[in-house]
Symmetry: C2
Subunit: 213 residues, 2 copies
């Protein structure tokens, strides 16, 4: 049985939603960030950077959210949360997956935790935060432009795992001055994804009942 090491609302929510969508059995294991459990020797044995999430699948463990996503999709293709291998759509799926994880998510991490880069100096932190928000907004505008000319979801009419990823990041970005939901095409996608029973079960299990995006 899968074991997903998670913390409420963290990037772990993406594989959590996909596990709910797939209907397979899995166990949720809280990594308690309040006591810095992600840096415990036990946890770092399966995740050497001490980050969340990790997925245990039988005898082996895998880290990096998007890699866990691809792992689950290969094992549960019946959910069809990604286009078929070898198609142009599949390559576009990869493109948006990497764009979300290493462009948008990275900027949102800088925006949320500027002190990790510049320490306690409030003036520098505010500047770093402002710059990250501006760059994240440009990325959201790129996504908005894509969605408004390509259909409801990243890949058009059919939902895929990247749409769930955007929902999770959109929740992080809610306090931005120009949050994702203010863009019409993104807002439609978020409404659609967040209405899915699997998504609602996943967030409920994580104790998240506030505004989702």
């Amino acid at each position: 049985m899968y074991k997903l090491h998670y913390f409420p609302g963290n990037a772990s929510a993406v594989p959590h939603m996909l596990l709910e969508e797939s209907g397979v059995d899995y166990e949720l294991c809280l990594v308690d960030r309040d006591i810095n459990a992600q840096k415990s020797p036990e946890y770092m044995r399966i995740n050497p950077m001490g980050r969340i999430p990790t997925l245990e699948d039988g005898t082996f463990a895998i880290f990096e959210t998007a890699a866990i996503v691809l792992h689950l999709l290969e094992r549960h293709p019946e959910g069809l949360m990604q286009p078929l291998a070898g198609t142009g759509e599949r390559s576009k799926f990869y493109q948006w997956l990497f764009f979300l994880t290493n462009s948008l998510q990275e900027e949102l991490m800088i925006w949320q935790y500027p002190d990790r880069l510049v320490g306690a100096d409030a003036v520098s932190a505010a500047m770093v935060r402002q710059g990250a928000e501006a760059r994240a907004s440009t990325m959201l505008d790129v996504i908005e432009k894509h969605l408004s000319s390509n259909g409801l979801f990243f890949l058009g009419a059919k939902i895929s795992a990247v749409d769930f990823y955007l929902l999770v990041l959109a929740r992080w970005a809610r306090p931005m001055s120009n949050p994702p939901r203010t863009r019409p095409a993104i807002s439609k996608l978020l409404a659609e994804v967040s209405a899915r029973p699997a998504v609602q079960r996943a967030y409920a299990a994580e104790g998240i009942t506030d505004g989702i995006y």
Copy 2:
């Protein structure tokens, strides 16, 4: 025919090496960063963030380096630069690919361009740079530990696309106080990958003849 939009030594070198390995026909198109060509309206039509690389494949264009890598691997599986789908090795391949692109590469970008985050203030820039180097070093230590207990390459005895990715990032990181090549297992991997004729052809075509790592 493929068209790879590149700049010498940029992340574009990873798909460039894989194209050389695969033996297929392709055209190299320089995106001249010296005149900011990556932000020209023509280029941004195929790469809306104005980043390098982009791969054109017939009628469609794809961005994000690692997505281009997966696109090429799906179309040219004969080179076997990734493990077979559905295997645990394939999931580990994804894990390292995401780790390199959104953890190590992102830290190296911050380290190379701290001014993008904190502007012209030299004191803040130096602090950001120092922090990014420390985090990148921790990541390199994780890779070193993995390689020293798992074999010559990321996936053991068999080379895969992630090994080429590490070589390209290692070249960027050469000026670090504790660069990748100082770690014995990483150094062995870099020696092996950089000795491949395809890698040497790719760097030569980009005009790169200085120390490769």
